[in-house]
Symmetry: C2
Subunit: 616 residues, 2 copies
Amino acid sequence: MRTSIATVCLSGTLEEKMLACAKAGFDGIEIFEQDLLVSPMSPEEVRALAARLGLTLDLFQPFRDFEGVEPQLLQANLHRAEAKFKLMTRLGMDMMLLCSNVGTATINDDELFVSQIRQLADLAAGYGIRIAYEALAWGTYVNTYQHSWEIARQVDRENVGICLDSFHILSRGDDPEAIAQIPGEKIFFVQLADAPVLSMDILSWSRHYRVFPGQGGFKLDEFLGAIARSGYAGIISLEIFNDVFRQSNVERTAVDGLRSLNLLQSQTAALLDAQGIGSALALQALPGGQKANGFDFTEIRTEDPEPVARLLAQLGFEFRGQHRRKPVQLFSAGGARIIINSQRSRGVTAAVSGFGVQVPDPAAAGERAVQLLARPVPRQHLRNEADLPGFNAPDNTEVFFGATGDAGGWEAEFGVHESGAAAEHPALIQCIDHLNLAQPWQSFDESVLFYTSVLNLQALPGTEVPSPMGLVRSQVLATGDNAVRLALNIVPHGLEEAIDRNHEYPEHIAVRTGDIITLARNAVADGMDFLHIPANYYEDLAARFDLEPQLLQTLQELNLLYDRDEHGEFLHFYTETIGNMFFEVVERRDGYDGYGAPNAPIRLAAQFERNRWSRH
Amino acid sequence: MRTSIATVCLSGTLEEKMLACAKAGFDGIEIFEQDLLVSPMSPEEVRALAARLGLTLDLFQPFRDFEGVEPQLLQANLHRAEAKFKLMTRLGMDMMLLCSNVGTATINDDELFVSQIRQLADLAAGYGIRIAYEALAWGTYVNTYQHSWEIARQVDRENVGICLDSFHILSRGDDPEAIAQIPGEKIFFVQLADAPVLSMDILSWSRHYRVFPGQGGFKLDEFLGAIARSGYAGIISLEIFNDVFRQSNVERTAVDGLRSLNLLQSQTAALLDAQGIGSALALQALPGGQKANGFDFTEIRTEDPEPVARLLAQLGFEFRGQHRRKPVQLFSAGGARIIINSQRSRGVTAAVSGFGVQVPDPAAAGERAVQLLARPVPRQHLRNEADLPGFNAPDNTEVFFGATGDAGGWEAEFGVHESGAAAEHPALIQCIDHLNLAQPWQSFDESVLFYTSVLNLQALPGTEVPSPMGLVRSQVLATGDNAVRLALNIVPHGLEEAIDRNHEYPEHIAVRTGDIITLARNAVADGMDFLHIPANYYEDLAARFDLEPQLLQTLQELNLLYDRDEHGEFLHFYTETIGNMFFEVVERRDGYDGYGAPNAPIRLAAQFERNRWSRH
């Protein structure tokens, strides 16, 4: 599939945008006119730079407010168009996007639209230029693809076809199915955009909140399937207006965009295969996504391993061994394995730096990640050491693929020869329940797409948690069976400043137990520091739930939090923060599947309060 | 008027919120339950702290999802309520907010609502507690104030009345007029919130975008007028859910809130006076707002005055004198006066630090500012020096009031004894046209309220300008006759980083001329650095406007930008940036009244491009 992207999706100068698109691997770009206008590069320089970078210049856009006007304005519009045709000739471009009139149209008459666009087409033909007519969702008179196609059909010129933009069609709730009936050669261009499900006016939604395919709520595989069935064999491009992308690193946004197209073409190929339909789009399939069976390990980076090691021991973890060659220690409890890594960690007090998941075929999972443009972690193993495929997530977490049930491979490097159950007493901890990872606000959508596509996780509905310094946006990603769960948090700027002197929001590792009360008592006996929960919380628990007084007292005594849903009960506690991380211990009773969301504000306020005092 | 504010409006811990409310000058607060829940303070401590601070605890809120439920759930709800009544008793509070059910109501039956709320009332009566029933705009069955009043009326208990929240009424487009017919003593509480005009679902709008009165689009003077006419004599409170306020400095937000109430009560008093209606609310009027006649001066702070002085000379400004006592220089051209201040400016390359406006009665303007809680600038004058009332705006700009036509007062301190026209040649510059001031994102709404209330300016509709690093939000504030105009800009984080090494977005002073071409030619002859405008811009001008080729050539030669509207033409240029500021020169032909908005992206991109190279 030939891929393209509109320059308006990206930040920076036109030159920076072009370099980033080429580096990411796009085949071409759409020139958003304003990007050219503000550029010191001449059209000839842009053309030459594109040629050197191997980028095609696919679409000049947008040309606005042309048709449906009085004769005098039509002449001014044709004058304006001809100037742009001359400019396009200098750029070496042959296709212009014509948006349906949203401003100056005063006459609602299809025949007039047809005759005026025909005049434009004949003028364009003299320059060898084709016109792709697009119905904007808020066009004054033309705002559906059926209508734009009807007009283009009646214009009846070889150099006039339509442009289809998924946003303009799906935002209105229109059915894309009829696209399949349009002759593919009369579809001149296809632009894709996804969008979160928001109830707001379509114009604001479009101008600020578009996202790359897979980051929103539209069914773009079905949309692209309909395009494919029309016989369209051209370019698939991205046109995203997004307030955050406009401010983000241009190279990363370009990679994020191409990743979204690689995923989408694979999904669409699968859809068409299932229906037994071929496509002229040459859709490329990815190696199949694998369901992870669970966490393989979680890695903490720290200059000084002692405080973390002590905390792990208090929680019931056993030391399993020191890496034979590196300053790396392995701890485990039940199926939960935690690595403390002190390599290249000068100045790092403690931070969650990576994790592994277990999949049936790590090599295939790695190959899929590569095709999804994941950035490989630089290899640090010797020839006879385990070689787990590893990648940097957008939040800089390192993500590795290990083989299901094959821990022996890398555990042997820690001198561990028996798998599991080396402890004297059975561990109260069963496994890693979930990881909570902080996300920079600029890369939240990118992270969600990365984890859902590369780790094959599903995104659950997002929530917002009030804290003393703003709302924390939270998004859970999980395998269908919850064997692997990640909670991504975006933290308001003010909270970062308040909660940590490095302006970083702490991440945490949640481990699961079947007996949180015994585990907490053991930890108390070992002198562990719990995050202190205020007394008012327990009074409110008593008002909300019909709890045994004895249980309530135990909860308060041990700083345990409590939640209940229609399935069961949830008990959990938090440790004090070390550097930039802390632990949570959870017990899930009778199929409770949430994360204690009502308690999250309590935790944030307690950490804020704690930090406030340590700041004084 | 007795004022209150809900703790949910503010950032920080409950203690910090209470301290900030007392310091700002509120009479009382509403306790938002979650703020208490997450606090380590016991109810007794909260009560004692409030007493010490002189704050009344006016409303305990919210109590949710009570009425319209099955008998078993009713019992649980009564249990929950009684726990809260006991808590309120410990807090010494006697009024609870009951929100109409949005979640658990399953039976749509007014009689059932009445009988269940009556049970709640009778339980509350035992604790001396009153219930204020509020219709949420998205209540399942009860969502209008008429409906909540009808139910409260039928409940027919002395301790049950209603709470009226302007957001829930005005967001639905409901007419508040009928409030005047409700007996004032049955209105137990009034909450005010404004909101920008947005088309989105009401719940999201309410939870994220509420603002203080005067910062949005609701007609709150009419709303409060209807409240007053009901005979209500109680507390007027603020309940604002705003994503930005939650992250902002708690003391500033509290002041911002009380300022909004002081302005609103004055506006409402004027409205009622005009209608010849008295009010039990004891509304306090402010000294009347005065229309400024123009800018008195603009002040630039800089460690080294030479680069700015040179630029001013190139633009045609004359040096008028040095302050007799301080390192401060005065320049003027026509009616434009610019002060270069080198006091306390170590490390400041150049920044717009303040400005004065001329009003008929500066002392009264200063008194109004004080009553609007503006922070006075520390006085720096001696007894025999001019004493202009001065205040710090939220963006830290110093704002002064001078007397109309009375420049001699302070000019004399610069050894200037003749007013104006000291230059050999008539100045091409006529006056200061407008100032463009950068705003921190946290204080944009606060700034708009400050400048509109303290300087008595009107806010025009806002716009957004694309830049290479994100959208710049822009808001013009002006007197009705445009004698004083300010353009406030919020700059995306990424742009700040890109455009300036101090992460500050440059501000600018725009001066007006009647002959920009001669002025620009003079500046070229004097060797001035212009901001360079790319050639592509002039090609686009030729496509969009039917310009004389000679004029187009002159524009391009002089780096002038051009715009036209239905009134007339606009020509302008920008200087290079010095430190954190630059100048713009504008010529308005035939009543053009805008700011060349289509050219703003060109300017931003050119500055970005310029900076990019200076960074390399």
